[in-house]
């Protein structure tokens, strides 16, 4: 099992008030799943993504990534897991403005201490994968929104992560461009990647082959889509709500 959450809670303390962002989430995700997380605003989608992405640790409960308990890791150990296992794609792209697309994509390789000579080769191959070889030496402000998101996806892919996490990746794009980006994710999924994506849009979620709905920090439904061109996937994997 790639990802296993059991009774994960996340409580934020704001002053004296406690916000139950996650109220006990149990969830298993296998390799090469394509999962969409939906739910109303404030239901805990981003919080769940942050926990899965090792940006945050649960207040209680257990989160095992590749059979390793993440809850007791320190900052730097979490950073190393993010570096090796996680690729983030954000709604607002979050590219570094002073760097070229190439340099943005290369950055995770620098943090994962890849050798300089192998880096360029790797960057070009993911740039090809997202179809942006020609734009590699442009800065983000010289790229369209769709192109920026492709750069961000390339950056997320560069370290061959186990999971690609995308929090509303089409939120800042028009529907046409959004659809193009979804095609990219589709391709990545077919190539064997595990993708978890948060969205508000049903038609975006339909690309996935499993949809989880959150409500007030709890999973209210977990359904496998039979439709679409999703590849066959193992059924009967342990899932709890």
């Amino acid at each position: 099992m790639l990802i296993q959450l059991e009774g994960v809670t996340k409580i934020y303390e704001v002053g004296t008030e406690k916000v139950n962002a996650l109220g006990g989430v149990s969830l298993s995700i296998e390799k090469n799943e394509y999962l969409a997380i939906m739910g109303p605003s404030g239901s805990g989608k981003s919080t769940l993504m942050n926990v899965i992405g090792c940006l945050d640790t649960p207040t209680s409960g257990s989160y095992r990534l590749k059979d390793q308990e993440v809850g007791d890791l320190d900052d730097d150990e979490l950073a190393e897991i993010r570096s090796a296992e996680i690729g983030f794609v954000f709604q607002t792209f979050n590219l570094l403005p002073r760097m070229t697309a190439f340099q943005n994509v290369e950055l995770p390789l620098i943090y994962s201490k890849a050798h300089r000579r192998t880096r360029a080769e790797r960057v070009w191959s993911v740039m090809d994968a997202v179809g942006l070889r020609e734009r590699a030496l442009h800065r983000p402000n010289e790229l369209s929104g769709g192109q920026r998101q492709r750069v961000a996806i390339a950056r997320a892919l560069i370290n061959n992560p186990s999971i690609i996490l995308a929090d509303e990746p089409t939120g800042n794009l028009d529907s046409g461009t959004g659809e193009e980006i979804m095609q990219v994710f589709e391709g990545l999924h077919r190539a064997g990647n595990t993708i978890i994506l948060v969205t508000h849009e049903e038609y975006i979620a339909e690309h996935a082959n499993r949809i989880i709905r959150l409500h007030d920090g709890l999973i209210s439904s977990d359904e496998r889509a039979a439709r679409g061109a999703s590849p066959t996937r193992p059924v009967g994997s342990a899932e709890r709500t």
């Binding site: 730097d76 950073a79 993010r82 570096s83 983030f88 570094l96 002073r98 994962s112 370290n159």
Partner: protein
Amino acid sequence: MEFRETFLSALRTLGSHKMRSALTMLGIIIGAGSLVAVMSLIAGLNQSVTAQFQSVGTDIISVSHFPWVQMGDSDEYRNRKSITIHDSDAIASLPSIGLVAPNIHTRRGLSYGGESMRRVRVSGTTPEYETIDNYSVESGRFITQFDVERRRQVVVIGSDVSEKLFGLRDPIAKEMRIGGKIFLVIGILEEKGDIFGESLDEHVIIPFTAFKKAFGSRRSVVVDCQPADGVTMTRAIDDIRALMRIRRQVPRDKPDDFAINTQEDLTASYKQLTGVLYFAMTGIVALALLVGGIGVMNVMLVSVAERTREIGVRKAIGARRRDVTFQFLIESVILTVLGGALGIGGGAGIGVLVRVATPLPAATTPGSVGLAVAFSLITGIVFGVYPALRAGRLNPIQALSYE
């Protein structure tokens, strides 16, 4: 994260805020610059003072109207009674005193044939002056007792005078004019060099008596002397002081109204001077580095705040605390070291300017450059470490959601 990447990334960031970076470096530039400049001035001073000490001689005691190094109230100095040839004779008769050479000085024009020189130092003295004041005759002879007794119009000339007035001709036995009066050249002095830009070789020496006759007898006399064999400097100085106080009727509770100068006094006042310089420099440098350092810290804190989101992104894609901390630390160190380098350039420039434009042979010392580099490096680290640690400790989620 590799050093190379961090370094390049830091340069890119600083380069995108050129004005801000330049202003931030100002304090460091001033600090490092003043350090290098002042050290080069002190080095220059050391060099010229060493030359001066060599030309003075170690066991000379020079009793004069005014001290060599004057401090404070000059009116008090001006009202002092002159020292006379009788004082000189009295000092000479002290058992603790060996050689004595009374000497008096003025500045006069010199001429020979078509050549002339203006305001050259003219000294009237006795033969002992040669030994006491460390002169050597290159050719011809020094003045003799006979010259003094007979009040002969003879002159021993410095090497510059020989060169400028006589050129390639041999000055010996030629008649030249000093302040209009005719003197016969009997000797040429060996070259002595410069002190504070004034050539010691633009100098002529004539018999004490001939000086008085030609240029007047009212000048205060300087009495240069040496202790007698086997007598310490302190003992000789004490005897002179006691004698002079009596002769000049200085009341018990009043300070000396004359000066007894030794090379040691020079050394002491020189040390005092450089001490003040070092002290002032330390102050300026410390202040500039402090101000510069605070500036660096301020700018780095602003930079951390501005780039909170960037920090969040970097962490999300795998940067560890130390990667982020190191990145910001490198930036502040580049700022201060670059500032230090510019300051060193400026300070060295000032040194060159001083050497060219003034008599002081200022010279940039490797030590001061090393110090400046070390100080700017340390400033960058000390004042950069807090903002850098803050950047490293940022929570990635909060950083990412920072507006």
